[in-house]
Amino acid sequence: MRLDQAFRLSSILLAATSFASLALAIVLPQWLLTLAGVAFAMALLRTNHASLISGLLLHLRFSALTWNVFLLLAFVGFWIDLLLVSQELLPAGIHFLVMLLVNKLSNLDQRRDFLHLYAISLIALLASAALTTQVWYAPFFLVYLVAGVWTLLLYHLVKERDEYPGDQPTGIDEAPSPSSLAHITSRFFWTTNAMAAGAFGLTVLFFFSIPRIGVGFFQNNHRESLRTTGFTEQVDLGAIGPVKQDPSIVMRVELPDAVGDESRREPLYLRGVAYNQYNGKSWSNSLSHRRMLTELPQGTFTLRTPGIKPSAAPARGLRQEILLEPLDTAVLFGAPLPVSVKGNFLSVQSDLMGSLHLPFPSHTRIQYTAYSLPVTVISTEARATAFLYPEFVVQQYLQVPAVDARVIDLARRVTQPATSVSETVRLIHTHLLTNYRYNLDVPSLQSAHPLEDFLLTRKTGYCEHYATAMVMLLRTVGIPARLVTGFLATEWNEFGHYYTVRQRDAHAWVEVYFPQSGWITMDPTPPAPDATMPTWWQSASSVMDSLRLKWDRLFVHYSASDQFAVVQGIRESGEVVRAKMSESLTAMLGQGSTMLGRFMKALTPAGIPQTAIFLIMAIGASYVVMLMLRQLGNGAARQDLYSANQRVVIILYSTMVDCFAQHGIVKPASATPLEFLRHVREQWSEAWPSADALTHLYTRVRFGHAPLTAEELSAAESLLHRLRTLGRSAPPSQKR
């Protein structure tokens, strides 16, 4: 490919990348997309078929005046857009930017036009970065980086070629045609790509190193939040059903402390909100009064237990790293029962049923760590036949609306065989699991008595029906229980090692109260039939989601605290290394001093004072070090003093000297090369011409540091070869 062609192509690719990124980030009007597309196509045609359609394009080209009018109209259009159409600066500005891009693409004549195009493309990429945080930005950025390196390099070379037309630019072969245009060689191609790879490496390094000191004056992270159901103050029975088909990702959960993949594949309950009041059609929370959580150092918020001073260290339990998408609810999710959260929050609140809330919903992705303490029934309570519940619990968690008598009868009938409270709970749980069928196609919202319909008539339903039925059956037999909504994470990402939680994972379950154990999680809903998905698609989806998460974690949400953590980690590992080295050194020194002590003891009786021995040893050690350093320095200097060709000639000369030595003409150490040459002439005149030529080459290199051409080098080699083939009849002394 010709240099000019490559330069134009890379410039257009640069602009196209930024434009595509922009078009994905914001919905551009159809006419603007078409206009830009045409401009790109024309620019490409001009690059690839310059001679073929140049005439046609010349006819199609507008005059400078037309383009000025076009720009003027675009500017007027920007103001109209800003004031009347979109009424926002960013979209109006982007539309104007695309118009500028079209203008520049159509008038790429001079070098400054290319510079303008690069500036526009950079602003477009910047605008795209302002509008999105999606993972698709990454490949566009990468392509932009590579194209940027190519473009800047080619721009420089084209400029050099134009300014110094007599010279041939780097890495480019002369074109066979009479024109002075050059071609891109494969070496140039790979070198430039290596440069781009280097630029990418440096970019990553800088990205993670630049201190995050964002003050956020003009921060605009507003994104459309995901609509959720089931986490408001009042939830109608059956409200979760419609979202059970929605695959939108709500959050991703990592369990950093869990060991083994199998354990992580277990379904994970992510508790959201609990409800205690049921009116026959909907659930509500009568204990919605919220209190602020105690903030501990490093952004940890913990639930206060009356009478206990909160500990600075988070409670040891299940740690979950949660990346929550922007939702329309302020609820913070966590495995039952969350006791503390750590994140970049101003404050965290909790209601009386242990649900965690932010003061207001976040419109950006938030990342936090939740610590939960799983609750199990203690053995004494597992066998208890009855409990004495506190008054507050009786008031709040035993409320039953006016339900059909058949429901009460069902509860008593199911629990009749039970001998303990936990047995009663188990029987109701088992009854629901075994006698009812999971079905999402249930019109509960239209039903006047959804609970009775589920339990007595239809016997099919989904999580809300199961959970509501269990709570009501338990309360009917005098066991306090409440309904909890949240998510049941079942989708384990093998590649990223985390749970992907989607809207369709919205779930409702039950918490049963045991006075000493606390609230025990029970899920009466049978597993939903698995949606069959092709394995390859599932894998691809997992990989993509894993990439998305990594992008979010590493790039979009990289923060000052992450930098601090990295620095802390490096410091800690450095300290570990230092401690280990110190230990080893101490051990070595200990051994050394013991040996030295023995040595000294052995010497001292001989009458040599210890100080003198130390002094002698120190001087000896310094001398050895000095010698080594000098040797090292000489080696380096010698290495650098001669080029490869020069070194070859020196070696050839040494070989020649050896060759003469084999024939009985030994070079004394004191003889200079020319003296030795004279000696050779006297001793073996046939060999003299070759020796003379080689010696002269050698002296030029050795003493004159003269460079050698390849021809001279090959001549030296052939001279030595000739010398070796020469047979020496007899030394003159022998002849005499």
Binding site: F141, Q168, P169, T170, P707
Partner: protein, 390 residues
């Protein structure tokens, strides 16, 4: 020629201080127009990143910074480990272009040097000779010739070579200095001297010439033949007339002597005239030596230098090239020294070249036959302003 190669990293002294000193002396960076714009854009993106806290802005900022750093690293690779040799002519004349040859070698084993602009560094100034190398392959060398035009006589010192590269992106000009000193003597400019005036001087020279015996064609003397004389020189006609063997002696043709005294005294404002006087002196010497004169040059209070034949021209030019103007305050002592030297003259034409006219001068140099000064040869000195810069 001295070899100037910046120390490679392995040869760098270990102390940071020395390293920094070396860098500040041998490396410099200058922004190009494109580079300034790029830096401004980087700054803008940086401000946007800090203000918004948007990590994708930080990513763009990192990309732009990486391009800047990459530019620095690659340009350093381009300008390091180069080797230079300079081949200078034996001497130069002011305002007369000469060819200088520069040999440059890339001592790197793998990395080529690209887009190199070479500058001569003279008296701390970078002088552009229009040398540009697009590509110098690793382990290769190149010979570059360029015209060198020096405006002033004197010693012309090269401090070294400055290598500048805008590679790879043209954002910066990386400058590397390779110190290797070299010097060359720049002789005064040789200017054409008007024919008429030369004839006048020649005439004076002829009149003042003292005839001497020696090889030549003109008859010098006839004398009686003595044993040992060349028999071919016997003048047969006179021998026949006088009946004695008579020998013809010829007049030596190289007998013509010229003493050129150049006054080095001139006030500061007459510096141009002084330089012009030296040019005139050099041009005169050139002509006289070519014409077969034996010349004695008296340069101020310096010892006289004798020369004959064009091959000894340089012998005379050297002191002219390095001669310095003396202030008026030193005029008396110089005059005295010159007068003394002129009094010891062994005949021949004596010319005094005086860039500055001192009324007392003529009286003090009675032996001078001809004075060349701005007053007597105004047209010769008139070209002062145009051809010899101050």
């Amino acid at each position: 020629m001295a070899l100037g190669d910046p120390p490679s990293l392995s040869m760098l002294p270990n102390t940071l201080q020395t390293c920094v000193r070396w860098l500040s002396r041998n490396r410099a960076i200058r922004l190009t127009t494109e580079g300034t714009r790029f830096l401004l854009l980087t700054l803008a993106v940086g401000i946007a990143a800090v203000n918004t806290g948007n990590n994708l802005f930080y990513l763009l900022l990192a990309m732009m910074l990486s391009l800047i750093v990459l530019s620095g690293l690659l340009s350093e690779q381009c300008v390091r480990r180069l080797e230079f040799h300079r081949h200078l002519p034996e001497y130069l004349f002011a305002n007369e272009p000469a060819t200088v040859t520069l040999w440059i070698a890339n001592r790197k084993s793998r990395v080529p040097s690209v887009s190199l602009h070479l500058f001569d560094v003279v008296a701390g100034q970078d002088l552009d000779r229009g040398i540009h190398l697009s590509h110098l392959a690793p382990q290769s060398s190149m010979l570059i010739s360029y015209p060198l035009l020096v405006r002033r006589r004197g010693q012309y010192r090269f401090d070294g070579v400055r290598v500048i590269t805008p590679f790879p992106f043209g954002l910066f000009h990386k400058k590397a200095f390779y110190p290797f000193e070299a010097s060359i003597i720049v002789c005064p400019e040789i200017i054409p001297l008007p024919e008429l005036r030369l004839h006048e001087m020649n005439a004076i020279g002829q009149n003042q010439a003292l005839a001497r015996r020696g090889p030549g064609n003109s008859l010098y003397n006839l004398r009686e033949f003595r044993p040992g004389d060349d028999s071919r020189a016997i003048h047969w006609m006179t021998t026949a007339r006088t009946s004695k063997l008579m020998l013809k002696e010829t007049e030596a043709e190289d007998q013509r002597w010229v003493t050129l005294a150049v006054s080095t005294v001139a006030p500061v404002e007459e510096d141009g005239a002084f330089e012009r006087a030296l040019s005139i002196a050099a041009s005169l010497l050139d002509l006289l030596l070519k014409d077969g004169y034996q010349v004695r040059l008296l340069l101020g209070d310096q010892q006289g230098i004798l020369a004959s034949g064009p091959e000894q021209f340089l012998h005379l030019l050297h002191p002219l090239a390095l001669c310095e103007r003396r202030p008026v305050t030193a005029a008396a002592s110089i005059r005295q020294a010159m007068a003394q030297a002129l009094a010891e003259s062994n005949g021949g034409l004596t010319l005094l070249l005086s860039p500055w006219t001192d009324p007392a001068q003529r009286e003090e140099f009675p032996a001078v036959d001809h004075v060349i000064s701005p007053q007597s040869y105004g047209d010769l000195f008139d070209a002062v302003g145009s051809s010899i810069p101050a």
